[in-house]
Each structure stands twice: as C-alpha cells, then as structure tokens.
Subunit: 213 residues, 2 copies
DNA sequence: GCGCTAATGTGAACGCCGTTCACACGCGCG
DNA sequence: CGCGCGTGTGAACGGCGTTCACATTAGCGC
C-alpha cells in the first residue's frame, strides 16, 4: 500500500490500521492525529479529509476494537458443549464474560480503546461494532441471556435489565484488573476471581427478586 | 488567601482546591497545569515547585476525591439501623455500594477523577484517601465485609477476595452509568438497577463456592 | 538589625498536540 | 483534451506539559 506519488490510495484504512496499532501499545491516549499521519506518511491535515477530527477517529477505532471483543467472546463460546440446552446457557453466559475479561488482559490497550465510553447505548447495535461473528459484544451478551431464558433458568421478569447487571460486574472487574488497582494480581488469582465474578452474575441474575421498575 | 506581592502564601492548597473545582465540572481531563496556575493567579512553572508534574497533581487530587467518596459512603452508612448485627451487616454492604454509586451520580467529574485508576492497590490504604470518617473507600468496603463475617453471613473462606468481587460490580455499574453507555437511564430505573447490583453482590458473595486459589 | 541562603515565583522557550486554511496535485468524467 | 473535485501539502494558530535561567523575598544565623 505504498503511495504512488502525490496520493495515498487508501488513507482511511491506513489510518485506522495505524490507530489500532498505536492503541495496542499505548491505549487510546497513544492515538494522536499527528502520529497516525506520520505512520501513514502523510501530512496531519490530510487526516481531516477522512475524519471529522480526533474524537471521531477514536470513535471509529473503538467500534473496530469492539468487534474484536465480540470475536474474542465467540472464541470462548465455541468451546461450550451444546448438547444440553441448560448446560449450554450456563456455559454461554460464563464464556461471554470470560471472553470479555480475557480480551481485556490480552489487549489492554485495545480494550481501553473499545470501552472508552463516550457514546450512548446506541453503539451497542452499531454495525461497525460487529465482528466476524456478526454480533457486537452487547449482542453476544443478549444472546447468552436469551439462552438462559430459553433454558428456563431466568424468568422474563428477571431477564429485564439483566444486561446492565452482567455487564457492570464483568466490565468493572476488567477495568480494575487492566489498569486499575487490581492490575498487579498474579494470573492464577486473577483467573479465580474472574470465575467468581461470572458465577456471581449467574446467581445474581437468577435469584434476584428483579426490583425492576 | 489573596497573594501579598511576589509570593502566594499557600499555593499548594490553592492549586488543589482549583483542581477539585476544575474536575467537578470537567472531570480529570479538565485539570490542566496551566489552568490551575491561571486560577491561582500564578505562572505555570510555579506549579512545579509543589508538584512533580501533571500526573502527580492528578494523583493527589484523586486521593482527595476518594476521601469524599468515603464520606459519601459514611453518610449512607449512618442511615443503617444498628440494633441487629445481621441487619446492620446487610445494610452496611448495601449502603457502601449505594454510597459509591450515588456519589458517582452526584459528582461524576470528581468520581472519574477519584478512580482514574493508575496507582496500585497501595492507594487503598493511603492516609490521604481517608475522609473525615477516617477511612478510605476501600476500607469502608472492608468494614462492611467484616461485618458480614461477624454476622455469620459470610465464612472466612468466602471473605477472601470478596473486596474484588463487590468492588468490581459496583464500580462497573458506576462507570457505565456515569459516562458509559448506560448514562442516559432515567433516575428511577437507575436506582432500581443499583439496588439489584447491590443485592447481586450480597448473594454472590455468600453463595459462591469461593473458587479462591 | 543585617546579610545570606534557600524556597518560591517569573517569563521565555521547546516540542508536542488538535485544528484550520489557502493552495497544489492529478484522477476520471465530459 | 480540459476541467472539477476529491485528496494531500505546508504553514500557521492556540493550547498543552515541561524546563531553565533568573528575580524576589522570607526567615534564619549571626
């Protein structure tokens, strides 16, 4: 993709790729307009032909990173045996959480980029946030929760708002362990905690009286 | 505290106060060395007589904000009737979580400043993070968990690592609702979810098989 | 009371950042 | 072939964190 003279040819893609690479090593803070332009071999102002500005660039990159999270979840989901509906549902909700958390550990920079927040729940179903698996991370969660309902482990009433509960616990744990106060936990303890978090979610969803308004 | 001529008199405190004010309205991003210097009526370089740099300034401010979180928790704790040991323990763990979450809603900027992460678990017991109540937010959580053990609701085994679980769920929920995808929830739904989160934690701690390594 | 030292504040400078704008280039359509 | 419009350029603006030589003065030892 070396540029042929004056024009680049595929600058938008080049910038996004450079952005992901920059975030991989430096997190969202490591993504700067000028740096990406430098990597792409282009003047800083050229970036503005393809993105409104720094913020929109980060937003686009975040969606790409979210797609990667969705696929990381999919990888974990693939390991769940699907012979029994109830076992699959249990496995699915766990795999979804564990996939989220493992991605955070393996790619802390991209994880922080993906969930740098900003952006309402609208992004939960953004096409650009879907991975090769065809779903966004949020949609993966919805799928696992639906499976719990199908398996009779969750009532419709309990189901309402379950995304918020599950996401909160798993997201919080990921944040605290990625660049938060729990970041220096050893791998073994970390895995054990992750398992407890996921178990807590499963129990909490099912047994909570569903105080939903 | 108007400066008397060349010297300020109490610049460090003035900078910290200005920093909290800036973070209150603009979050941690709103805290800049130059801005604080401007507010304090001093040259930017003067800041470096009192702080190593921007990062140390933010760290110091974060501890101050944490102290405020601890006191917010204390306010909630004060409402818990203490006649019955078991009821108090239940109330305490809930109040701790709710205090954390309500603070996040009331002072989103300061909350984001307080838990901008960076900084190991060492900060959990930092003297500067203690509020008027004499405890850091983490120590408030420890206290509530200890109460659960005292009341016989939690075994010593379950108690191990319970901080991580509880903190994760509550912190995650706070993050998602403060500036995350769940930020546009209406107040009523938000409160209902918060209650469910706290209930999930209580159940999850007690009934989890404690997969601690 | 006096003079010196060390602490504190100044102002200019450096290199980074995001962003803007007038301008240069050249692909592809008429 | 000519030209328009999409794309890239380069210089500039203001803001940032940070540094450094220098100015000021509080407070201590005498």
């Amino acid at each position: 993709m070396a540029r042929s003279g004056y024009f680049h040819g595929d600058l938008r893609r080049a910038l996004l790729d450079a952005g992901l690479e920059a975030a991989r090593s430096g997190g969202p803070e490591g993504v700067s307009v000028r740096e990406l332009a430098r990597v792409a071999g282009v003047a800083p102002s050229a970036v503005y032909r393809h993105f409104e500005g720094h913020e929109e660039l980060l937003l686009e990159l975040a969606l790409r990173a979210q797609a990667m999270v969705a696929d990381a979840m999919e990888t974990e989901l693939a390991l769940v045996p699907s012979d029994d509906r109830r076992a699959w549902a249990d496995g699915a909700i766990a795999a979804t959480g564990i996939g989220y958390i493992r991605f955070a550990w393996q790619e802390p920079g991209l994880f922080r980029l993906a969930f740098r927040t900003r952006g309402d729940l609208g992004a939960a179903h953004d096409e650009r946030g879907r991975g090769a698996c065809g779903r966004t991370p949020y949609e993966q969660l919805e799928r696992a929760l639906d499976a719990l309902v199908d398996a009779g482990e969750l009532t419709e009433h309990e189901r309402a708002g379950a995304e918020a509960l599950a996401w909160s616990a798993v997201h919080g744990f990921a944040m605290l362990t990625v660049d938060g106060p729990l970041r220096s936990l050893d791998a073994q303890t970390r895995e054990a905690f992750a398992a407890r978090i996921v178990e807590m979610v499963r129990l909490g969803l099912a047994q909570c009286a569903g105080a939903q308004a």
